[in-house]
C-alpha cells in the first residue's frame, strides 16, 4: 500500500518537474523526455540503494543541476530555438526599443531607395513600357543590392565581405547587359529568369552574416526566404485591395489613375515592398513565425494524395504523359513545390524528435513526386532525341536533374532517419549544402548559355 502511495507521489513530483522544465523555451519536449528518462533511472538506482522515493527524487533533481544553468547551456547549444528572440541574454528593454526603432527607420530608407532606384532610369529616358527588355534584365539589380545593403548594415558585415558582395552585383550587371541577345530570344528570357536566382544567394550570404558557412545560418536563410515570400504575397494582396479602391474612388470623380498606377505605384511599391517585407520578417518573427511550416503541414498531405492519385491514374489508364512544350516546366515547378514543402518541414522540425506520421507522409510525397518526374523525364528525353537541343530544353532539363538529385538523396536520408539508421541532422546538412548548387546552375545559364546557343 505504502509502495503504491510512494509511486503516486513520485509520479506527481516528476510530473511537476516536467512541467517546470517544459516552460523553458530552450528545452524542448524531446529533451525533457531524455532528461526525464535520466531522472527516473537515477531515482530507481537510489531507491535500490535504500533511499526512500522522495529522498531519491530530491537527490536526483539536485544532481541534475541548477535548471537556470541547464537551460542556459541548452540555449547556447540550440541557439536556433531562440531565433525568434535572436538574443540569448535578455537585453535592457529601453535599449532594445531604441534599436528596433533605428532598424525600422533604416529599413524604410532602404525601401525608399529601392523605390527610387527603379525609377532612376526614367531620368535617362528609359520607360517601363517602352524599354521592357532593359527593365526585365535588370529588375533584380534594382532591388537586391538594396536588400543586401540593409543586411550589410544590420549584420555589421566587414568591408572584406562587402567587397565580394559588391563584386557579385557588378559581375551580374555586366552579364545581364553586355550580351547581344536576339530580340525575344529564348536565351534572353532564360537570363531574365535565372539572374534573380543566382543573386538571391548573394542576399543569403549577407543575410547569414558570418554564419553562411554554418548549417544553422543557411537554414535561417531558408526560413527567411519562405517567410519573406508569404509576407510579400500578403503585402501584394493588401496593395491590390488599396489600388482597387483607389481606382473606383477616383473614377467616380472622373480621374483615371491607371497611368499613375502603372508607371509609379506598381513598380515603386513592388520594389520597396521587398525591403519592407524583409524587415517585417526580421522584426516580427514571433508574430508570424512558423507561417511557412504551418502551410507546409497543411498542404503536404493534399499534395501527396494528389500525386499518388495521379500515379494511380497513370498506371490504370496506361496513358503516356503528353509532353507539350511547357509540360516539363510544369514538372519542374512541381518539384520546386515539393522541395519547398520538404525544406520548410525540415527547417521547422525539431531535430531530436523521433519520426512520426507526418514524416511518413513527407516521404510518400517525395517518392511520388520523383516517380511522376521520372515519367516526364523519359518523355522529354524522347523529345530531345527527336528534335535536338534548344536552350529552353537544356535549361529545363538541367533544373529538373538538379532537383531530382536533391530529392532522390533526400529520400534516402529521410528513409534512413525513419528506420533509425541516420540522424535528421544529415538531411538538414544535405539541404543546406545544396543551396549553392542552384545559384551555380543559375549563374551558368546566365553566363554560359547565351554565347553557347548563339544568343537565340
Amino acid at each position: 500500500m505504502t509502495a503504491a502511495g510512494h509511486d503516486v507521489s513520485l509520479e506527481a513530483q516528476i510530473d511537476q518537474w516536467r512541467r517546470y522544465l517544459s516552460r523553458r523555451q530552450a528545452i524542448h519536449s524531446v529533451d525533457v523526455a531524455e532528461l526525464e528518462d535520466h531522472l527516473r533511472e537515477q531515482v530507481a538506482v537510489l531507491v535500490d540503494a535504500g533511499l526512500a522515493t522522495d529522498e531519491a527524487f530530491l537527490v536526483a533533481v539536485k544532481r541534475m543541476g541548477d535548471l537556470d544553468d541547464l537551460s542556459r547551456e541548452f540555449a547556447r547549444e540550440h541557439s536556433d530555438r531562440l531565433w525568434k528572440q535572436l538574443v540569448v541574454a535578455p537585453t535592457d528593454s529601453g535599449d532594445a526599443r531604441a534599436r528596433s526603432r533605428t532598424d525600422a527607420i533604416v529599413a524604410f530608407c532602404f525601401a525608399v531607395a529601392a523605390a527610387v532606384a527603379i525609377k532612376l532610369p526614367s531620368l535617362f529616358g528609359m520607360q517601363l513600357d517602352t524599354d521592357a527588355g532593359f527593365y526585365a534584365h535588370n529588375l533584380s539589380l534594382f532591388v537586391l543590392p538594396l536588400l543586401t545593403g540593409y543586411f550589410v548594415w544590420k549584420r555589421r558585415l566587414d568591408t572584406g565581405t562587402l567587397r565580394w558582395l559588391a563584386l557579385a552585383f557588378v559581375v551580374a550587371a555586366v552579364f545581364a547587359n553586355v550580351y547581344p541577345f536576339a530580340p525575344e530570344g529564348s536565351t534572353e528570357v532564360l537570363t531574365v529568369l535565372h539572374l534573380p536566382i543566382a543573386l538571391w544567394l548573394v542576399v543569403g550570404v549577407a543575410y547569414a552574416g558570418g554564419r553562411w558557412s554554418q548549417v544553422g545560418g543557411r537554414m535561417d536563410f531558408i526560413r527567411f526566404s519562405g517567410e519573406l515570400f508569404i509576407y510579400y504575397v500578403l503585402i501584394a494582396l493588401g496593395g491590390g485591395v488599396l489600388t482597387g479602391f483607389m481606382a473606383i474612388l477616383f473614377q467616380s470623380i472622373g480621374i483615371d489613375i491607371e497611368p499613375f498606377f502603372q508607371s509609379w505605384l506598381l513598380p515603386c511599391g513592388a520594389a520597396g515592398a521587398v525591403v519592407v517585407a524583409s524587415w517585417l520578417v526580421e522584426s516580427k518573427q514571433s508574430m508570424i513565425e512558423n507561417m511557412a511550416p504551418v502551410l507546409t503541414r497543411l498542404f503536404t498531405p493534399f499534395f501527396a494524395v494528389m500525386l499518388v492519385t495521379f500515379l494511380g491514374a497513370l498506371l490504370w489508364t496506361g496513358r503516356g504523359i503528353d509532353i507539350e512544350r511547357d509540360m516539363l516546366l510544369a514538372f519542374d515547378l512541381l518539384l520546386v513545390v515539393v522541395l519547398g514543402l520538404l525544406l520548410y518541414s525540415v527547417s521547422a522540425r525539431d531535430r531530436g524528435s523521433p519520426p512520426g506520421a507526418f514524416d511518413v507522409m513527407q516521404v510518400v510525397l517525395v517518392i511520388s513526386a520523383l516517380l511522376a518526374d521520372a515519367v516526364a523525364l523519359g518523355a522529354i528525353a524522347a523529345r530531345i532525341t527527336e528534335f535536338g537541343f534548344s536552350p529552353n530544353r537544356v535549361a529545363v532539363l538541367g533544373v529538373n536533374l538538379i532537383l531530382l538529385v536533391n530529392l532522390a538523396w533526400s529520400t534516402v536520408l529521410y528513409l534512413r532517419f525513419l528506420t533509425g539508421r541516420g540522424s535528421f541532422t544529415r538531411l538538414e546538412r544535405w539541404q543546406t549544402n545544396y543551396l549553392p548548387i542552384y545559384a551555380a546552375w543559375a549563374a551558368i545559364v546566365v553566363i554560359v548559355f547565351p554565347p553557347l546557343f548563339g544568343y537565340i
Partner: protein, 128 residues
C-alpha cells in the same frame, strides 16, 4: 578533489567520444562510466551532459536514435560515427601533446607532488 569547470568542459568531448567508441550508450550510463573511469574524481552535473551530447550530434560526431528500454520507457541512445572516430583520434593527439608538455613541466619544476594524488592519477593516464 575538485576539478575546475574549464578542464571538465574541455575534456568532455574526448571522454564522451571514447565512451561511445566502446559501445552505444545513453546519458545516464555515460555518466556512470565517467564516474567509473575517473574513480569518482570527475563529477559532472548530470544535466550538463545533454547539451554536450547534442552539440556532438549536431557536429555529426555522434548519432542518436530512440529505443524502448527494458523498463518500457523510451530512451535516447547515442552511437559514434566515423567522423566522430576521426575527431576522437585528433583529440587524443592533442591531449597527448598537452599531457606530455605538462609532465615535462612538472619534472622540470621537480615540485613534490602529494603522494596520494600521484598514485590515484596513474590509472587515468593509462586509460587515456
Amino acid at each position: 578533489m575538485e576539478i575546475n569547470k574549464d578542464l571538465i568542459a574541455a575534456s568532455s568531448t574526448p571522454i564522451v567520444l571514447a565512451i561511445l567508441a566502446e559501445e552505444d550508450s545513453y546519458g545516464y550510463a555515460i555518466l556512470q562510466r565517467v564516474r567509473e573511469l575517473s574513480g569518482g574524481r570527475m563529477e559532472w552535473t548530470d544535466g550538463m551532459l545533454y547539451p554536450v551530447l547534442h552539440r556532438l550530434e549536431r557536429l555529426g560526431h555522434i548519432e542518436a536514435r530512440w529505443e524502448v528500454a527494458e523498463s518500457g520507457r523510451r530512451r535516447k541512445y547515442y552511437r559514434i560515427t566515423s567522423r566522430g572516430r576521426v575527431q576522437l583520434a585528433e583529440e587524443r593527439r592533442q591531449w597527448q601533446a598537452v599531457d606530455a608538455t605538462i609532465r615535462g613541466i612538472w619534472q622540470m619544476l621537480s615540485l613534490p607532488v602529494p603522494a596520494s594524488h600521484a598514485a590515484s592519477a596513474a590509472p587515468v593516464h593509462q586509460g587515456a
